[in-house]
């Protein structure tokens, strides 16, 4: 048997057969998975299951949409809440003086030669608060609910005896400049109304300079006050009942009744 004679032809034939076989195999598997060659029953079952699936998915979509909407709403609410909290905080900071401020208002300048004592400063500041001042600073010290204005004695002064005014326990240097933010006209009127504080000071030959300013800058307080002992107290229902029982308003109001002429 001559090997070379049958070798080549059978190899060629098998090569072709391999190609044809794999082609046919691929085509057949493709046909098996093709919908047009499926049986009607299986097609019906497929349609049914697919439509069920679709319904389920549609339900899921609506469900998830609702969830998304509610989440967005809640986040919007949270954002609003946060914004209001921020606004509140800003307000609190302004009120407590922890931020520097800017706004229209008055400056009141007091020179060293004017005979003014710390009660005058207190009066001026009270008058300013009365006139609707929103923030006041004395030199570089913001006046808050914790500010103190007082007088102190300088024990080491050359003359042996010298008093000076203090604000927040710091020496108040001249010229004293009171800056206040508010409606400048109202503030000025509050100070200069006849018989007011300016007239009073004029009796002592003190004429503080009042100046309206468009844009004033007030410093922040140097260190914010910390609170250790204060706690919010909300009277409960019981406490309220107790107080109303023990002190009847009649007894408090009526002591004068017997004295008053009939």
């Amino acid at each position: 048997m001559d090997k070379a004679r049958w070798h080549i032809p059978i190899t060629v034939v098998l090569l072709c057969l391999g190609i044809m076989l794999s082609l046919q195999f691929q085509a057949q598997t493709r046909v098996a998975s093709d919908l047009t060659f499926q049986r009607t029953e299986t097609l019906i079952a497929m349609v049914r299951s697919l439509s069920e699936k679709r319904q389920k998915l549609a339900l899921e979509i609506t469900d998830l949409g609702n969830q998304l909407r509610s989440q967005m709403e809640s986040s919007r609410d949270e954002k609003k809440l946060l914004e209001s909290i921020y606004a509140e905080r800003e307000k609190m900071r302004i009120v407590n003086g922890t931020t520097a401020l800017k706004g229209p208002g008055l400056t009141i300048t007091i020179e060293e030669h004017m005979p003014i004592i710390y009660t005058d400063l207190l009066n001026i500041i009270n008058e300013l608060w009365n006139a609707g001042a929103e923030a006041i600073s004395l030199n570089e010290y913001r006046i808050t609910s914790h500010s103190t204005i007082s007088v102190a004695e300088d024990a080491y002064h050359e003359d042996g005896y010298s008093i000076f005014m203090t604000v927040n326990h710091e020496k108040l240097e001249y010229p004293i400049i009171i800056k206040t933010i508010g409606n400048p006209n109202n503030l000025e009127k509050g100070l200069t109304l006849p018989g007011g504080i300016m007239d009073n000071l004029a009796l002592f030959n003190a004429y503080p300079e009042i100046e309206k300013v468009e844009a004033l800058e007030l410093p922040a307080i140097e260190k914010p006050t910390s609170y250790y002992f204060m706690k919010e107290y909300k009277p409960t229902e019981k406490d309220k009942e107790k107080t109303t029982k023990t002190t009847t308003p009649q007894e408090i109001i009526n002591p004068l009744k017997n004295i008053a002429p009939r």
Partner: protein, 125 residues
Amino acid sequence: MWFLLPVLGLIIGTYLGSNITFQLPPIYIKYMSIAVLASLDSVFGGIKAILEDTFDGTILLSGFFTNALLAALLAYLGDRLGVDLYYAAVFAFGIRIFQNLAAIRHHSLTKYRQRKARIRGERNG
């Protein structure tokens, strides 16, 4: 070792066929299947011929291609004419494949026995 080259050819052919991007259009699948069947018949016939020592390369090659083509054409013609010649071809080629396989088995068995007997004879002699 002499059978390795055809096996390699088969493997390479399968690999090529699976990597070809050409896709058989679905309407020709039927004819392709009958062509494949005819080719298988030719291949088994060739193997049988090798074992019977009556192998002829030209006959195998021509038989391979003409059988495949004719089978496909016949099936197509049957479809055109409304006669299911497809089944006739499947039947004929199926029978021939089984006959060839039986002959191959028969021949290889007898050859194996002959060889065994010869070895035994050599050992004894």
